[in-house]
Assembly symmetry: C2
Homo-oligomer: 190 residues x 2
DNA sequence: ATGGTGACGACACCAAGTGTCATCACGCCT
DNA sequence: AGGCGTGATGACACTTGGTGTCGTCACCAT
């Protein structure tokens, strides 16, 4: 079987999504995923650092959108304004067509602890990236960490609502709502 | 309550700490840890769910202190007050004698991604527990999540300073400082 | 063609976990 | 004291994730 078609990585992602949805993360082996994709186990690990990573391939782009929007926000913008701009920019990664995919992905992650661990690490990396970007704007540390944490919470809230079948609004709108709610809660808490 | 050679779990934790400090997490095998403890690989996995877990054994107690303090806070206490009480209660787990141990543990974790993943998951579990406890007090959701996130950030800040050799204050004092800084930053951000 | 480059397959190998059964120390009962 | 049950451990085989290494084959530029 010496043939090799293009899109190996995408085929692996697709095969993984299907198989993990059918059988769950633990009951599906890497060998079975690669078999479905017409490849071998070794090739899987050339494209993904480990089995979990096949479900977290868009993260890099998300970081860049966040960081870019924060450092690119107007100089007059406050830390929270910059966070708001970041959420706005992030909306580009979550068009309505990707909602069903995101839902499936979340269903798989919800069923396995290893995947949740990976997700938590990605969250922390994103938060750290936001803190770094805010610092580049001159925001000092207690405020930078707090703003990043707030942004992360707003993002997770918006994402959870976006994935929820009960809602039909666009991500950007949900993000604006979540951030607004958190801002008012913040002023009430102090 | 069987007492065989006794202390199997503690011996495993001690052997693991030593070996992981010497060689790092990835270059030390479970078989080597158990060999040092005078036990077998199988026994290790009867005491710990996986290799990572040997470094996270005190977490259960921490959760209980947090939750207990939050639900046990006086009815007049605000959400932030309850968080403050939780941090105060958590100080019991971090006496000065445990500082060196904590430092070593953090050094090992800092050197390996899997361990950081586990730590992030524990953080998230703690945050979720705090949200649950706050809800029991009648705190509703945007505020509960925000307060829990704030508490987590204060805790991490205090812990980082407590472990830092440059500081010599007690954990409770560092926690009060961190929470106070975050409260003022919160009022400035809104 | 011709040779170089990069992606893939084949194979061996290590380490993390798990299932299963045997064994051995201890407390308890008579 | 001696037998019994229980729970912790050892022994061993097995699966799966993940890596190192080498060979092979398509593609491209010369």
């Amino acid at each position: 079987m010496g043939r090799w078609k293009a899109n190996a990585r995408e085929r692996l992602e697709q095969a993984a999504l299907e198989l993990l949805l059918e059988r769950g993360y633990e009951r599906a082996t890497v060998a079975e995923i690669t078999e479905r994709a017409g490849l071998t186990k070794r090739t899987f690990f050339r494209h993904f650092a480990d089995k979990r990573e096949v479900l977290f391939s868009g993260q890099e782009a998300l970081y860049k959108l966040f960081v870019g929007a924060i450092v690119g926000a107007p100089a007059s913008a406050t830390a929270i304004d910059a966070i708001g701009a970041a959420l706005e920019a992030a909306s580009a990664v979550f068009p309505p067509e990707r909602r069903e995919l995101a839902r499936q992905r979340q269903a798989i992650i919800a069923g396995n602890t290893e995947l949740q661990e990976r997700e938590m690490l990605k969250r922390a990396s994103l938060a750290a990236a936001m803190v770094g970007a805010l610092r580049e704007r001159g925001v000092t540390d207690p405020t930078a960490s707090l703003a990043a944490e707030l942004g992360g919470l707003a993002f997770r809230t918006a994402y959870a609502r976006w994935v929820d079948p009960a809602n039909h609004q666009e991500f950007a709108e949900l993000a604006r709502q979540a951030l607004h709610e958190l801002k008012t809660a913040t002023s009430e808490i102090a």
